[in-house]
């Protein structure tokens, strides 16, 4: 047996190795240092920075690992995966800083070791989800991500709603991963392989197709759809987002969703592609009408998310429905099935990460000060907390997609991709949805600036750390809103998947 090809493949999993080492480091440091937990966040950030070096290295790769006998292995390294891993790393670093200023997490001081270990468990799961090319590893990485996030969702165990969030997440998650596993087992039964590249060459044969094949693919989509909270698999989102500690909510809404999208794009593009034509449109195999299916799901998702958000009175629930709506826009970018749509998705994600993290951060700081996440309690905050209110106004306007914020650029590229693909009707529906979303975002601003509070509140100062964090999050919103060429160029150079 020849192990050389296995050892050569080790270079493709350097970031994953770093993350795994950090998990062990955090556990042992927690054990050795005992009551002193102040070192843990800094170990985490150092580990993430080291991992980011190896991820940046992957921008120049376009390779897949190989098995001991030289056949195609399980893990890929390509610019597409590297882009999503960078999003995961950046949001993880920001989340670690969030945790430092979150009252909820500070109160659970004794469990900081477990907290950071599980966050790194999530990161490892997401990295494998992003770069995996094998259904077995895909399933295990989804489970690793889900299991860690179930526990983190009920981490503080303070209130009833915390445990409720965790339990609901476990039940929905367990059911959906079971459904996905069933789909995978059907695919394996039909073809005898779980490798996406081998599946692609199998599907070129004429005998595949029919109802059972449809069923298997829809079942697999259900598992991934749960992770990206696409309708009709979104039921868990509002409850879990409301109940979980807010750092975890913000993390789930960015990183977990990014990993889910990376997996979905890789699954569809690698498994079902026939060829890419000169203008960048993907010709998929004539097995499943992914285009109509994705358009249907995305319109359902964004409409449902936006209309349900209209009636929310809790800020976290509102952002949960808004994140469902954004998953709908992102799915629309995939439904174009072209390189241009993929570029739009990458740009959207990079910008969405900053604006959504920012919105959640301000909600957390305000909750630290006034002890509430209800929109009614935000009355008059524009005068007692001017800087915080200004920041959340910017983040919400950016989420709507109004210039000069970066959210406009994200939506612009998405709509250009749609119009170029002659999907005018769909673009109009998305545009109308954006108008609906304007209403509930502005409702928050109206409460803060135009409604008088019942009792006068003294002016509240923001701590220097939170101030610095907000600046870090605000700058990209304006920067990418005006000078977005570098981001677009990065996205354009990151659409390369291994094999295409």
């Amino acid at each position: 047996m020849n192990f050389q090809s296995l050892i050569n493949s080790l270079q493709y999993i350097k970031p994953e190795i770093v993350i795994a080492v950090v998990i062990v480091l955090v556990v042992t440091t927690d054990l050795i240092m005992g009551k002193n937990k102040s070192l843990l966040p800094w170990i985490s950030i150092a580990g993430l920075i080291v991992a980011s070096f190896f991820v940046i290295e992957q921008f120049s790769f376009k390779a897949v690992s190989s098995n001991a006998n030289g056949s195609i292995g399980m893990i890929t390294a390509d610019p597409f995966g590297a882009f999503f891993k960078i999003i995961v790393i950046v949001s993880s670093i920001i989340i670690v800083f969030f945790s430092l200023s979150s009252n909820e997490i500070k109160e659970a001081f004794e469990r900081h070791g477990e907290y950071y270990t599980l966050i790194f468990g999530m990161i490892l799961g997401m990295f494998f989800m992003i770069s995996s090319a094998d259904l077995i590893l895909i399933y295990l990485s989804i489970e690793l991500l889900s299991l860690s996030s179930y526990i983190l969702a009920g981490f503080t165990k303070h209130s009833l709603r915390n445990s409720e969030a965790s339990l609901k997440y476990i039940i929905y998650g367990g059911a959906s991963s079971g459904i996905m596993l069933f789909g995978i087992s059907i695919i394996y039964g039909l073809t005898g392989t779980t490798n996406l590249y081998l599946l692609n060459s199998f599907f070129h044969l004429p005998q595949f197709g029919g109802f059972i094949f449809w069923l298997a693919c829809i079942l697999i989509f259900a598992g991934i759809g749960f992770k990206i909270s696409a309708a009709p698999f979104h039921f868990w989102t509002p409850d879990v987002y409301e109940g979980a500690p807010i750092t975890i909510t913000a993390y789930l809404s960015i990183a977990s969703k990014a990993a889910g999208f990376a997996l979905l794009i890789r699954f569809i593009k690698v498994t079902f592609i026939d060829s890419v034509d000169a203008s960048g449109y993907w010709q998929l195999l004539n097995l499943i009408d992914w285009k109509s299916f994705l358009i249907l799901i995305s319109i359902l998702t964004m409409t449902l998310g936006n209309f349900a958000a209209l009636w929310q009175s809790n800020m976290k629930r509102l952002l949960a429905y808004s994140s469902i709506a954004h998953a709908g826009y992102l799915l629309l970018g995939l439904a174009v099935l072209s390189d241009q749509g993929l570029i739009a998705i990458l740009i959207y994600f990079a910008i969405y990460a900053f604006m959504n993290l920012g919105a959640f951060f301000v909600v957390m700081i305000i909750a630290n000060k006034i002890g509430s996440e209800e929109i009614d309690d935000y009355k008059g905050l524009g005068y007692s907390m001017p800087f915080l209110s200004f920041s959340i106004a910017v983040f919400l306007i950016s989420l709507t997609g109004i210039p000069p914020t970066a959210g406009f650029i994200a939506k612009l590229y998405l709509f250009i991709a749609l119009v170029d693909a002659k999907m005018i009707a769909v673009a109009v529906i998305a545009l109308l949805n954006t108008v609906v979303s304007l209403y509930y975002y502005i409702k928050v601003l109206k409460n803060m600036y135009l409604v008088r509070p019942e009792k006068e509140m003294p002016a509240v100062l923001v701590s220097p750390a939170a101030f610095a964090m907000l600046i870090v999050l605000l700058v990209p919103i304006f920067l990418f809103g005006i000078y977005f060429t570098p981001l677009v160029n990065l996205a354009k150079s990151s659409i390369g998947l291994m094999g295409f």
């Binding site: 477990e114 094998d134 077995i136 299991l147 526990i151 165990k157």
Partner: protein, 170 residues
């Protein structure tokens, strides 16, 4: 008589006796304990058939994990009143009919299927795949990543169990 035959008779005897004992006990905990013995004897039979991996998983998964789950459920639910299920008329006839059907099916397969003397290459390959050597080699070369990922999955699960088991933070 070779050692293999002696062991086969021993294990098969244990398996047959315990399965009869299991279904005739009225105390459900004792029935569950007989089931463990039955699983153990079956694992011995698998070993004799050179299916080592199956034997080990039989012991770990069935005799270990699933039986513990069984016993926990039995002890938590205290199913005393379940005994009345034996008094339902027609229940015994129904059970006998099902058991008889399965018996006939298995007997037909064993007596009338082609002899195991002439094994096709496919079947031989699947027999070899059941040995610990093959599975171990696959697990530590081509499937090393899922194997390690499963390891971290178990670590996360252990930590999660600890968090859930601990009392509220003071």
């Amino acid at each position: 008589m070779t050692l293999e035959t002696i062991l086969f008779i021993l294990f098969a005897g244990i398996a047959a006796t315990t399965s009869v004992l299991m279904i005739t006990r009225s105390n459900i905990v004792i029935a569950a304990l007989f089931l463990i013995l039955n699983f153990g004897a079956l694992a011995g039979l698998y070993l004799l058939l050179n299916a080592q991996f199956l034997a080990v998983t039989q012991v770990i998964v069935y005799a270990g994990a699933i039986m513990v789950l069984f016993l926990f459920v039995i002890m938590l639910l205290k199913p005393e009143h379940e005994r009345s299920i034996y008094k339902i008329p027609g229940m015994k006839i129904f059970a006998f009919a099902i058991a008889f059907l399965v018996f006939v099916q298995l007997a037909y397969l064993i007596l009338f299927s082609s002899s195991s003397e002439k094994v096709s290459p496919d079947v031989q390959a699947s027999i070899n795949a059941g040995t610990i050597e093959t599975i171990g080699r696959e697990l530590f070369t081509n499937y090393i990543l899922p194997f390690e990922a499963a390891g971290f999955l178990l670590l996360a699960a252990t930590i999660g169990a600890l968090i859930l088991a601990k009392k509220k933070i003071e």
